[in-house]
């Protein structure tokens, strides 16, 4: 992990690192086992997306609070080509990389809040948050 709390995603082995680190912080945030599994799975999909589509990127993993509850927020950022058509990219089965096309849409279903900021040539930033259920 770098000093500012980011994990680099630059190779296959980093996907395993990201999953393990997200699991650790998800436990800290008080997520249930099922919610831990969901956010770790979403993290794996999003990290692989950064690797495949942008050649790599980074993720920050932080515990957040909104006054009532705690949660886990993941922010994936890359300097890749960006996503030209976000609506299509979020559609199940749409793929430009020969995969199943479940990464983005599936990840969105697995978390509580999901936000994508992307423009062609400007890279992509994806924020995904999962809240602990009281």
């Amino acid at each position: 992990m770098t000093q500012d709390g980011h994990l680099a995603i630059s190779g296959n082995a980093d996907l395993v690192m990201v999953r393990q680190q997200v699991r650790v912080v998800a436990v800290e945030a008080g997520l249930s086992l099922i919610d831990q599994t969901k956010i770790v799975t979403a993290a794996s999909e999003l990290a692989r997306n950064a690797l495949i589509h942008a050649g790599g990127g980074r993720v920050s993993i932080v515990v957040v609070e909104d006054g009532r509850r705690r949660g886990l927020r993941l922010t994936f950022s890359d300097e890749g080509p960006g996503i030209p058509d976000l609506d299509r990219a979020l559609t199940d089965g749409f793929t430009t990389a020969g995969g199943l096309g479940l990464g983005l849409g599936g990840s969105r279903r697995l978390v509580d809040e999901f936000d994508v900021a992307s423009a062609p040539g400007k890279g992509t930033t994806i924020t995904a948050t999962k809240w602990a259920r009281g």
Partner: protein, 123 residues
Amino acid sequence: MERVPILKLGDILIISIQIDLDDQSVLALQEDLADRVVSAGARGVIIDISAVEIIDSFIGRMFATIAGMCRMLDAETVVVGMRPAVAITLVELGLSLGGVRTALNLEKGVALLDHLGDRGTPR
């Protein structure tokens, strides 16, 4: 990259995944398994995932690929021991693993393969 061992028990191959799978290990396993199914003349393959904490779309697709590949090599595949949290997550992710047989545990997986073998013609 870590390699997943493939064990042989009679005419069944058993793979117990005990590591956090990276994509290269997944691809290596597919290739190793295809070779072993042929060289061992296996009629069944059991993949035990009771130690697997997450399955994402890449790993999930591996199970479907392995099942399809083994079927072409005249072997049936059963995935056993899926954790409840993994099952819930897979469905929400949108991955139904259609075409992949599952059983609750290794024992039931072996029984399922025996049953398929007795009937001669798998479903």
